[in-house]
């Protein structure tokens, strides 16, 4: 348990979700026979009763690092004013978290009440009832199996809030309804919108001759996708097809820890080893069959996701699918030439396995699933797939900033 506690503390820091030092350093607790924490702090005493009040085995608490601190503070305050939870529209929240409850200050009973229902709770301002505590928002999330759950949820919350803030802002500007303080927050976040000048990394070059090389190429491309910030927590998936076998990352595997987490799935259906493969296995298989590509990379780059949900408010108002964009959007949409399709995670009737493969038929090597993420294709190796993922996201970010600048003038 201690090893897991340390591992997920480190991951929270590496993901840029929390500070490595000082009072913002995350708190991770794990309970088996006894309760242990990665560090002691004023929070641990307050959080201990959560373990006795609930059947859980782990807890993650962190005060989000910039830019999430400002974003979450803004959304939490807004939610409290409306007396509603934060309701992000992205696919991940919709599927796994439903909504994000908010409490005004650090109160152990309030935390317990919220966590009894949901996987996480957002504290609007920890300083509110504890004058000695650091100011600003915090996220608390629990697990019944491993601190990994708290990490994943915390990271998804940060992602969902990021996407929600910038989506909402764009929408407000389009409708002329932006609250004054939202401009201020946006301006403060500007430094995070200047784009990454990161070069396309050197990846394993095709043709890939052996199974071992396939694993190596996938592990490397996965790690780079995380390093470049093109996914939140570990969501995303990756596959490569060679000799009639599709090698694909396992469900819930961490793109930066793919060793031992890749399933070989024979294309002839002779084995069900794909049972633990990514939930997008069918979409990958279909895409490969339709396009002839052999590499697929899927991440959740933020601005691609944000722009995928951008729809002319006037048109949306009269659209009869306006509450079901994520599954039923009837329009052929694109952003910067990249097709956008509706679709939910997996293989249900409204699953993205039905829409994504068709999107590539428009002779594209990238497609965005509404409110979810970007899929890119490569041939022979992952170089092109990675380059496309990075370029599309960079262009989406720049485009977003342009739109905002124009709308604000």
């Amino acid at each position: 348990m201690d090893a897991l506690i340390r591992k997920y503390e480190k991951k929270l820091i590496q993901a840029g979700l929390a500070e490595a030092e000082g009072p913002g350093r995350p708190i991770v607790g794990g309970l088996d026979y006894t309760l242990s924490w990665n560090r002691k702090g004023w929070e641990t005493k307050e959080l201990e009763p959560v373990f006795s009040a609930m059947a859980i085995n782990s807890l993650v608490f962190f005060q989000p690092a910039p830019p999430y601190d400002k974003i979450i503070a803004y959304l939490a305050k807004e939610a409290l004013t409306k007396n509603l939870p934060i309701q992000p529209e992205d696919c991940e929240t919709r599927t796994f978290l439903h909504d994000l409850p908010v409490i005004p200050g650090f109160s152990t009973p309030d935390i317990i009440t919220a966590l009894k229902r949901r996987k996480c709770v957002i504290i609007s301002d920890t300083g509110q009832n504890l004058p000695d505590a650091p100011k600003g928002p915090a996220i608390v999330a629990h697990g019944t199996v491993s601190p990994e759950q708290g990490f994943v949820v915390g990271s998804s919350v940060a992602f969902a809030c990021f996407v929600k803030f910038f989506s909402d802002y764009l929408n407000h500007l389009q409708c002329g309804t932006a609250p004054p303080d939202m401009h201020g927050v946006y301006d403060e976040l500007a430094p995070w919108l200047t784009g990454m000048a990161m070069p396309i990394p050197d990846l394993v070059k095709g043709p890939i001759q052996s199974e071992e090389r396939v694993y190596e190429a996938m592990i490397q491309a996965g790690a780079k996708t995380v390093e470049y910030g093109l996914v939140d927590s570990y969501f995303g998936n990756i596959s490569f097809c060679r000799d009639n076998i599709l090698y694909i990352s396992q469900t819930g595997s961490s793109l930066d820890e793919l060793a031992g987490c890749i399933d070989p799935v024979p294309l002839d259906g002779s084995s069900s080893a794909g049972l633990t493969a990514s939930s997008e296995l069918t979409a990958h298989l279909e895409t490969i069959a339709r396009t002839g590509a052999d590499a697929i990379l899927h991440g959740h780059p933020r601005f691609s996701v944000i722009l995928s949900m951008d729809c002319d408010p006037k048109k949306k108002q009269v659209c009869r699918f306006s509450t079901r964009c994520h599954t039923h959007c009837p329009k052929k949409r694109e952003v910067l030439g990249v097709p956008i399709v509706p679709g939910e995670v997996g293989t249900g009737p409204t699953g993205l396995c039905n829409t994504l493969p068709l999107a590539f038929e428009r002779n594209k090597d990238a497609a965005i699933v509404y409110g979810h993420g970007l899929f890119t294709l490569g041939r022979g190796d992952f170089t092109q797939a990675f380059a496309t993922l990075l370029t599309v996201e960079n262009r989406c970010r720049a485009h977003y900033v342009d739109c905002v600048t124009k709308l604000r003038q």
């Binding site: 026979y33 059947a55 259906g269």
Partner: protein, 584 residues
């Protein structure tokens, strides 16, 4: 009341009469339904033998039964197990549960012993006792054909139960089994051949829009689950989809658990069965996953074997014969006995005799068990008693006399703990650690480590106790959680409940079983695994090593579990925990 009907049918088979009782609403809240209410009535019966006329057989629906809550079409049966002597319970699919609830009953508690074979027919509020000497000795399919339930749900026993097979099952609607712990024999002890229910009522639901929302959330999550709805998942290939995984993870019980790798496995997987039998989807009433498969070719109409049956009738007894698996499965279902226990007992015999089986021999031994003939007289007692009688008790791969299913505990340490601690004996479903140790849900855990597993198993037991009480299907919980089901429960019953509130009820339900087993005389000695797992390695390879389990680490983790569960070091329920859970 919403969700529950508020009516429990108490049947006395000695007198062929019945009365209707209601419980305090508080008891419904505390025990929910299904396994919970069944356990409540079992404990009230006190320390009686499994075949004592006053020993009840409890059949319970749950508050979600016959609503649109996903996978809520199961029935839970509880009595004292003839095979294990512990709490015996099993969940069964089909439509019986839905029909019983729609007839207006939360459950049925059956006591007494009929002087002659009888069938109970419940149609709405009308209860009839049908004398059925003509059905004695008839297999479950003949019973189904003769009784011809049409729209009604039907549970019945076959000759195995009538002839004293300790692992006799109950067959519902021809294709579904309450397989484990021998509850078919409990039916037979009461001279009860079948139970039929038919109803047309509707469950009162407090908040239908809320329930619809919860339903959508669950369906969305299952669609996102590769294990359930993926193209290699249960919906397409049935539970047999697990076969390749067990092979790949090197934890397929082989040669009576003397090895964990079966060479020919890749030729005997779900894909091979699908190619040979072209199965179509089939499932419980109201289910969207439809994990059961019925063959359309080769042996049309035959139920495809579940994963456990596939594995045990191949690797465990060293057979490469796919048709034998289907035939043995069909035979067990018709005779009315548990395939896991039957195959495991044959595997035990194979280790003792040292001789391989022919297909014909397997089928004739299965018939001998059910007909109480020849060697069958010993085999029908289950692996533990069989091995004891032959002076080789160490060859019985069972916990509390319940034969182990098809996951080798050396390949998943949570499973080792789950087997040892399960209140009904060697069962994988009580804590279902396969979910995180193999399927990576909700997140993956290290399958070769005991670290943290004590609490994980405890919480999972509580969770699954809730699932069996609501009632819902365990498979759904690879994807959804109590968060979504608490929403469904709240919407149906109008009782605001969080996931954690339900877990607290789950803890009560499970602890109640621990108390019952303690009353029956079971403690720490029974919470253990066969010695083999601590002394012999499995079949490593493919960069995976399968060493024997570390005995000290196992005992240490068990001790931690006792502490967390509220038991003393002998596994005895602590008075303060009883009090805390209101179980005094």
């Amino acid at each position: 009341m919403h969700g529950w009907t508020g009516h429990i049918l108490h049947i006395n088979l000695t007198r062929h009469d019945y009365h209707v009782a209601s419980l305090e609403p508080d008891l419904y809240h505390r025990f929910i339904g299904g396994k919970g209410l069944g356990g409540y009535f079992l404990r009230r019966a006190g320390n009686l033998d499994w075949n004592h006329p006053d020993m009840p057989i409890c059949l319970f629906t749950g508050p979600l039964t016959a609503t649109i809550a996903p996978t809520s079409g199961r029935l839970h049966l509880v009595s004292r197990s003839p095979l294990t002597g512990c709490v015996g319970d099993a969940s069964v699919g089909g439509k019986l549960s839905t029909q019983l609830k729609r007839a207006g009953w939360d459950g049925v508690v059956i006591t007494g012993k009929s002087p002659y074979p009888v069938g109970i027919e419940i149609r709405e509020k009308e209860i009839r006792f049908i004398r059925c000497d003509h059905l004695r000795g008839k297999d479950t399919r003949e019973v189904y054909r003769t009784v011809a339930p049409k729209k009604a749900g039907l549970a019945c026993i076959g000759p195995a139960a009538e002839n004293g097979v300790k692992f006799a099952s109950i067959t519902a609607d021809n294709h579904h089994s309450a397989g484990r712990t021998g509850l078919g024999l409990s039916f037979a002890a009461k001279n009860l051949k079948y139970l039929l229910a038919e109803g047309s009522g509707k469950v009162r639901i407090k908040d239908l829009p809320g329930l619809k929302e919860a339903r959508e959330e669950v369906i969305r999550l299952t669609a996102a689950s590769p294990a359930l709805m993926g193209q290699y998942g249960f919906t397409c290939l049935g539970t047999g989809a697990v076969y390749d995984l067990m092979d790949n993870r090197r934890m397929m019980p082989t040669d009576n658990f003397r090895a964990t790798r079966f060479e020919p496995a890749s030729k005997l997987n779900a894909a091979a069965f699908a190619a040979a039998y072209s199965p179509k989807k089939y499932g419980c009433k109201g289910c969207h996953i439809l994990c059961k498969k019925i063959g359309t070719r080769n042996k049309p109409g035959a139920a495809m074997p579940e994963f456990e049956t596939m594995s045990h009738f191949t690797a465990l007894i060293n057979s490469k014969d796919m048709d034998l698996v289907v035939e043995a499965n069909d035979l067990c279902n018709r005779l009315g006995m548990d395939t896991i226990s039957a195959a495991a007992t044959l595997a035990c015999r194979r280790e003792i005799t040292g001789a391989d089986y022919t297909g014909r021999q397997v089928l004739s031994l299965l018939s001998d068990m059910a007909m109480d003939r020849g060697e069958g007289r010993n085999l029908k007692l289950g692996a533990a008693e069989y091995a004891r009688r032959l002076g080789r008790p160490e060859t019985a791969m069972a916990v509390k006399n319940l034969e182990l299913p098809a996951y080798d505990p050396r390949g998943a340490y949570g499973m080792a703990l789950a087997y040892a601690l399960s209140t009904r004996g060697g069962c994988h479903l009580r804590a279902y650690p396969i979910s995180h140790e193999i399927f990576r849900k909700p997140v993956a855990t290290d399958r070769f480590s005991f670290s943290g597993k004590a609490r994980i198993i405890k919480i999972a037991e509580d969770l699954n106790a809730v699932v069996d009480s609501l009632v819902a299907c365990k498979f759904t919980f690879f994807a959804a959680g109590l968060e979504e089901y608490a929403k469904a429960f709240t919407a149906v019953t109008g009782i605001p409940s969080s996931a954690q509130d339900l877990l607290a009820a789950g803890e009560r339900i499970y602890f109640n079983e621990r108390i019952i087993n303690h009353t029956y005389g079971y403690g720490a000695d029974a919470d253990d695994l066969p010695v083999r797992f601590f002394t012999e390695p499995g079949s490593g390879g493919n960069r995976i090593s399968i060493p024997p389990l570390d005995r000290a680490a196992f005992l240490d983790t068990r001790k931690t579990y006792y502490h967390i569960r509220g038991l003393d070091t002998d596994g005895t329920p602590l008075p303060e925990k009883r009090k805390e859970l209101g179980l005094d």
